[in-house]
Symmetry: C2
Subunit: 437 residues, 2 copies
Amino acid sequence: MKKIYVGLIGFGTVGAGVVKLLRNNDHLLEERLGARLVLKKIVDLDITTPRDVSVEKDMLTQDVGEVLNDPEISIVIELMGGYEPAKSFILKAMHNKKHVVTANKALLATCGDEIFKTAEEEGVDIGFEASVGGAIPVIKTLKESLIADRIESIFGIMNGTSNYILTKMTDEGNNFTDVLKEAQDMGYAEADPTFDIDGIDTAHKLAITLSLSYGGRVKLDDVYMEGISGIDQKDIGFAGDLGYKIKLLAIAIRRGGAIEARIHPTMIPFDHLLASVNGNFNAFHITCDAADSIFLYGQGSGMIPSASAVMGDLVDISRNMLKGITRRVSSRFRREGAAEDIKLMSMEDIVTNYYFRFSAVDHPGVLSRISGILGKNDISLASVIQKGRKHTGAVPIVVTTHESQEKNVRKALKEIDRLDIVREKTILIRIEDDRLR
Amino acid sequence: MKKIYVGLIGFGTVGAGVVKLLRNNDHLLEERLGARLVLKKIVDLDITTPRDVSVEKDMLTQDVGEVLNDPEISIVIELMGGYEPAKSFILKAMHNKKHVVTANKALLATCGDEIFKTAEEEGVDIGFEASVGGAIPVIKTLKESLIADRIESIFGIMNGTSNYILTKMTDEGNNFTDVLKEAQDMGYAEADPTFDIDGIDTAHKLAITLSLSYGGRVKLDDVYMEGISGIDQKDIGFAGDLGYKIKLLAIAIRRGGAIEARIHPTMIPFDHLLASVNGNFNAFHITCDAADSIFLYGQGSGMIPSASAVMGDLVDISRNMLKGITRRVSSRFRREGAAEDIKLMSMEDIVTNYYFRFSAVDHPGVLSRISGILGKNDISLASVIQKGRKHTGAVPIVVTTHESQEKNVRKALKEIDRLDIVREKTILIRIEDDRLR
């Protein structure tokens, strides 16, 4: 039976998962592929700490050259993460005519163009299914199944940690700080959780998804990004009253020649499939001109689920090798060749529905002054909740709007927050409703 | 630009959808594929009735030979449906070294082995994504993304018509006959709805899915099948009281060396993703040893969604052609070669939870006699609802059970239905709860 030799760079959680899967399911893989995948070397700086899987001592090395320069190794799996030296290793592997499988979303979101171009020039394959949505086959679905479709929109829950925190806050009523602490204690959140809770990780994944969907480069700085640290139990409560759940959504919507790309906490109808995505699961709701609505859900991270996606790529590349071909499918959603920048809309120009929570003194005439300013700025009200009249202190006034323009909303809130009757900065959460149907 | 010539057999709804997509998205397809897909001939017995898309007159023919014998045509799309002459046309196309794309689930479920074998022998590709789950990329996910996974279970809503009827019955409280009539009037159900409502269409799709998941042949007669025509509003109501929705599920569960394969109305927790699949949508909840839970949802049928899946196959095959290869991925979930029969478990041996609705006279001691017989047969009760005491006539006694064996259940119900205190045949609906988590 033909053997295909593989080298692994990065023996962390997912790396150990890949080693485990290659071992446990080796017979099944041979039967399905008709060839044997042989892991030859594992590179990591730490080659002494025991992992969740045991490997022969001489398989481990700290010298990346033992993988990058071994002519027998034809596929390199990069699972070390981060920008450098991961990037140099990937480029070197490609220059040495090795195919690459990676889960490195941060790197692909920032340097994807250079990496994809190098793969094209060297005529090697690159697989990155595990970089977005873990075990969910969203990359393959976009690149292959929806090949004849124009992607109209993508609404995704792409970060498990944020979704875990929001789920706990919603189900158990605890505040953000406590739930984050608990998630950190349980290993669901990093000691420095910034990447996850501020939406940066989600932005990386959205950038990759956008690149595939619209066949171009994405400037990460142009993606609007707002995290979940400002979410308050009060707003989760009001969302419930209004029939919504709050989720950190990555949103991409095609608007003629430009694309709306934004990441922020979003109120969505509680009976929508995305509202049922709980804990650290991920999901993608994709609408397109032919296939209509597609919803994909699964484990967005984790040792074995991510390894499953890596294995899918490994087999895909192996199948090419067995047929003596490469680059059967372009790395991007258009054929080989220079990519152009995708035109992203300015956040000021987007149009959506809004939830505002004003903190105002409890006076007759307050609502009239606030709604006057909203009206003046072309913002029309869909509903108003005014609860718990108090004779002293501020009361919440909750307003939802019909479709309004972000520019007008910002202008109106600036004016409202300067009013003497307003006690705290107004809370703004965007609502996606009809467009999700 | 290289041209790939395509012939279409069957100019019905999906056929017209394919023609439409090929036209509307031709630039996009060329850009993504780097080749032009040219539809050369359309075969149908009816070449005069106007379709939803207009084609040049000389593109239409009643003579299938104009497609099957045209050396320029390299891919044949079969969308006529049914067993014959569809089967002969597909085999003839393959013998003439043409690749085939089909949505014909009935044919693949019954003659798949012969068709797949012919494709292997002739060295041509066959795509059939549209045969199961319409636009949902379930076939590709099973054959490619989950290639390193052992499939543990599949719970699917695979028939849009049944799901539409059950959704309407649940939401609007109307009975089966009325909703079916309405669905027929609206074109959502066929004049002869047997295939859809009796579970036959679902069985075809489950057989194809099983074949892919476990790499063998499935004897359709061994798949247990029960349709939705016996579902009563009373049971939908009790299901709601118990926190369940009723769905027609196709179920496959791996039990050691054998597979449980069954289709029947099933009570599932109302907060499970599958319970949110409404109207004529389809969905698949797949669990596997590495990827964990994967949930795929979308349009299971319809002109343009099904055409989207056909196009995905067309491009897949075209990408092979452009690289000068065929059969990169086996038609089945194992490499080329003879398939074996998949061992399906006898329905008598399955173990699950049950819902029973007994119609008994309203007497003290009735429950004791019924539960006595259940206990004697190793069936332990999880809950009992006894509502609406009447002094005359029968009252419903609703019982749910812990895990019990079907054989014991059948024996117990036979004995209970013979009791003088029981007035009607007991209603049995299976429950899937913990295993769906």
